[in-house]
Symmetry: C2
Subunit: 103 residues, 2 copies
DNA sequence: GGGATCTACAACCATATGGTTGTAGATAAC
DNA sequence: GTTATCTACAACCATATGGTTGTAGATCCC
């Protein structure tokens, strides 16, 4: 998932498709690369669950999936929680032992 | 930055070093790979600003940088904000036009 | 001083990545 | 029916990635 978000074009595709539906070719027109390249990016995003595709006639509509974005956010929040835990423990040590950290 | 977070070993290193300080070799002992491999991961994380290194004698202490994690979180929050904007607009359309979406 | 440890970095390798072009199947438009 | 459009996928290429081993400079310990 982070890997899928690691590419700038893919992040942009997610942003666009969170804002509205786009066919793959409509997306491709917006980037200075071939249709096939954009198609691959969409496939990576789809495999990561960041977008979903829905057939509509001959075109395939791409929509961003906010639930997966939320899961990424939650994962990063857990990083911050670990950090807070460390800071809290440092506070406890200072509170328990007035001489903590000195010799 | 997302690229740096895209590797599982690197995410684990960030987690550990957010929780406490580790020398590079102390980190390396925890993973089933060579010291040099872990060193490279740390270098990638440092370049992305996700960890900082501080010399202490012959060892190099690695600390996670919560500020950068926060920036990643904020970026993802912006993704969700775009999504909310879309939903809000959809709500407005329905409110403005009772026949919206039908033929 | 001499040996052990920690780090840095280069060289190398297999595979993944991001891009290309080309071909082919469905669907829409005329 | 024929042509144009949208999509899928394969083949290919250059470069990046994640791993290895090896060498070498600092620092610590005896």
């Amino acid at each position: 998932m982070f890997h899928a978000l690691a590419d700038g074009t893919r992040r942009d595709i997610v942003l666009r498709t969170l804002d509205g539906e786009y066919s793959v070719s409509a997306l491709a027109r917006r980037y200075p690369m071939s249709f096939a390249a954009v198609q691959k990016h969409v496939a990576v995003l789809e495999a990561a669950g960041l977008v979903t595709k829905q057939r509509k006639g001959r075109e395939q509509l791409v929509r961003g999936n906010v639930d997966t974005v939320r899961r990424a956010t939650q994962l990063l929040d857990r990083f911050e929680a670990v950090w807070r835990g460390r800071i809290d423990r440092m506070g406890e040590i200072l509170a328990d032992d007035p001489n903590g950290g000195t010799r």
